[in-house]
């Protein structure tokens, strides 16, 4: 099994006629994803790579039974598009774009809950279930099927990490980019719950950084009786305090935000934690070994 996105998932690409939409659609199809429909707001458009294009999500769903969506639209239009997908009955909506006002993230998380849907993002490369499907723009060659569930706050770091894991023969069930913003559609805790419930996921790898509270959710999970083994990489050990490190959430404001506080909390919870990318494969192996 995998979580969130499966071989049978029927993906809709909102904003399919933009440059990113076109590139990613072809890339996702090449990976084997069933991209069944696209939307181009209010415009009639030809198909994109063989995918039919609809003027709205309702029409796209009626014609193609799409059940997941990724929205390649600017931040100023993200709220409108994600809500449209929820109200058309789509159960999983990914918004990969960045610079989404936090207000809109708050509203979209609340709307997802009200629609009984899952919202992922903003600021994420998406979700990939290696060998089955991907909804996002992560470089495909970095991934392979296997027993690890992966959660990441950072796109580039997840590529590097999975490239290493895959290179070491450690494949993945599903890699979830939860995004680097302070308010997330899917939180670390929720992503952990999904991977915990997935029978094929034997151990979990969490890619974290300074700032924010996600890593404490990881520690909380790991300390739970019956939790799957967890490995974690926390980057930003050498980042100066008080400066925003690219991600809106990656800022050391208080002691809890620091690298050392997070490492301590993770280690106390029994997480196989490392502070360097070079140590990731070994940590993941230790976690996997513990799962036997």
């Amino acid at each position: 099994m995998s979580v969130l996105i499966h071989a049978a998932s029927r993906l809709l690409v909102q904003g399919i006629t933009g440059n990113v939409g076109r590139f990613s659609t072809r890339d996702m199809i090449a990976y084997g994803t069933r991209v069944v429909a696209g939307t181009a707001s209010g415009r009639s458009a030809d198909d994109v790579g063989g995918v039919p294009v609809f003027p709205g999500v309702k029409a796209a769903c009626a014609a193609t039974q799409a059940d997941a969506s990724i929205a390649y639209v600017p931040a100023s239009a993200a709220f409108d598009h994600v809500i449209e997908a929820f109200e058309a009955g789509i159960g999983l909506v990914i918004y990969p774009g960045d610079e989404l006002p936090v207000q809109d993230a708050i509203e979209l998380r609340a709307a997802a809950r009200a629609s009984d849907a899952i919202f992922i993002g903003p600021n994420t490369p998406g979700v990939i279930s290696p060998g089955k499907a991907k909804a996002g723009f992560m470089p495909s060659f970095c991934y392979a099927p296997g027993p690890l569930g992966v959660i990441s706050r950072s796109g580039s770091l997840s590529y590097e990490a999975c490239f290493r894991l895959t290179g070491a023969g450690l494949g993945q069930t599903t890699v979830i980019g939860i995004g680097g913003d302070p308010i997330k559609g899917l939180t670390a805790a929720e992503a952990l719950d999904l991977l915990h419930a997935d029978a094929e996921t034997r151990a979990i790898v969490c890619l974290g950084e300074i700032g924010g509270g996600d890593e404490y959710a990881v520690a909380e999970y790991a300390a739970r009786p019956g939790a799957k083994p967890v490995a974690a990489l926390i980057v930003g050990r050498k980042a100066p305090p008080g400066k925003k490190m690219g991600h809106a959430g990656a800022l050391i404001g208080s002691h809890a935000d620091t690298h050392s506080a997070k490492m301590k909390a993770l280690e106390r919870a029994g997480v196989h934690a490392t502070g360097t990318i070079s140590g990731l494969v070994a940590a993941a192996k230790r976690a996997l070994a513990a799962s036997r």
Binding site: Y159, G213, R237, M245
Partner: protein, 376 residues
């Protein structure tokens, strides 16, 4: 984006929150010409915290004292920052200092209200705050906050005023895209009324497309930055100067931090955090090189990009061009990986450029250049 006190207070006043009547002066001379309600507080207008303890607030009982205070404060620096003026307000006879803030908090799935019946420095020093989760702004419930305050705020009248004020702050935060609205101290006067003696308002830069005042403030802030930072910002690059010698050009925050950690582990020091992922174009990368080439502290440039949406064959082509046209003699070390990396490797190889297989290799190579003095 943290607003200066007087800007934050203007937002508060705009939603009917009581703030002391103040005047802003950019110089001691302009201040001298104003009629002021002595005694007054002369307050340095800086964005950095801890101003009070650093002597940034001075009482003045006469025009001469006010001018002197302004002159002194305008010559000082707070957290490395020169004041952008002084705010002069009537000196408040404060009975009690409270603390009230509204802030975006992941655990609240939106806004949270924080309160302390003892504000001021006690909160700065880490006194516990009462917390009431709100979520989306429309979920603010006066009765829930009232219940949360019942245990800590004994004065019922103050409690009611705090509840009403908190509701205003939540609405302000959501309607004007603020991520934090903090009043500390919230001054209780002798008649029990509450006045915002200070204001720390943080606005969401991402909302600039729908908030002209945020867009203007960002532009003004960018204009105040040192030249290199301002150029980076204009080119949509994220640049933070650090103190080292390895000029790190990167894409993606997480991977950049990972590379910085590796550099440090290997005994080096990064010269900067320079994230090009928002503008992975020829112009963006050219600007990045230009900025680092112009910084004498930088001994070697390490280009570390792991692209997803950024297609690495395109990046490789840009790197090839930059390397051929570049005048600087500073050594450049590459580690490119990601989408279309096979084509990227070919392009780099043909151009005689070495692409390191791992970031560890690239860091080692960069450090050896740095140790050799760099800038061949």
């Amino acid at each position: 984006m943290l607003l200066i006190e007087h800007e934050g207070k203007a937002l508060l006043a705009g939603v009917g929150v009581a703030v002391p009547p103040g005047v802003v002066a950019r110089s001691a001379d302009t201040l001298g010409r104003r009629k002021l309600p002595y005694p007054v507080a002369v307050k340095a207008q800086v964005a950095s915290g801890g101003r009070g303890k650093a002597g940034g607030v001075v009482r003045a009982d006469s025009p001469a004292q006010a001018r002197a205070a302004a002159r002194k404060l305008l010559a000082m620096k707070f957290g490395g920052e020169k004041p952008r003026g002084v705010l002069v307000e009537p000196w408040l006879a404060i009975e009690r200092e409270l603390y009230l803030s509204v802030t975006v908090d992941a655990a609240a799935d939106g806004y949270a209200v924080l309160y302390s019946p003892r504000g001021g420095v006690e909160v700065e020093q880490g006194a516990a705050l009462v917390r009431c989760d709100v979520g989306p702004a429309r979920n603010f419930r006066a009765y829930r906050l009232r219940e949360a305050l019942a245990d800590v705020e004994a004065d019922a009248a103050v409690r009611e005023r705090v509840v009403a004020l908190a509701h205003r702050l939540v609405l302000l935060a959501s309607s004007r895209d603020c991520t934090t609205v903090e009043i500390n101290p919230l001054a209780m006067l002798a008649d029990g009324s509450l006045v915002s003696a200070d204001a720390k308002v943080v606005r969401d830069e991402y909302a600039r497309f729908r908030a002209a005042d945020i867009a203007e403030r960002i532009d003004a802030e960018h204009a105040r930055q040192p030249k290199a930072i301002a150029r980076a910002l204009a080119g949509k690059l994220m640049l933070v100067w650090l103190n080292g010698e390895i000029g790190l050009i990167s894409g993606g925050a997480g991977m950049t931090m990972a590379a910085m950690d590796l550099i440090a582990d290997a005994g080096g020091r990064p010269a900067c955090f320079l994230d090009c992922s928002a503008n992975p174009t020829p112009e963006g990368y050219r600007l990045a090189f230009d900025l680092l080439d112009g910084e004498p502290r930088v001994k070697v440039i390490l280009v570390s990009i792991f692209g997803g949406l950024t297609q690495m064959d395109r990046v490789a082509r840009v790197m090839k061009e930059i390397m051929s046209e570049r005048r600087s003699v500073m050594p450049v070390v590459f580690r490119l990986n990601g989408t279309n990396v096979a084509q990227a490797n070919e392009i780099l190889a043909k151009a005689g450029l070495h692409n390191n297989a791992t970031i560890e290799d690239a860091v080692r190579e960069a450090l050896s250049f740095a140790r050799a003095g760099g800038r061949r």
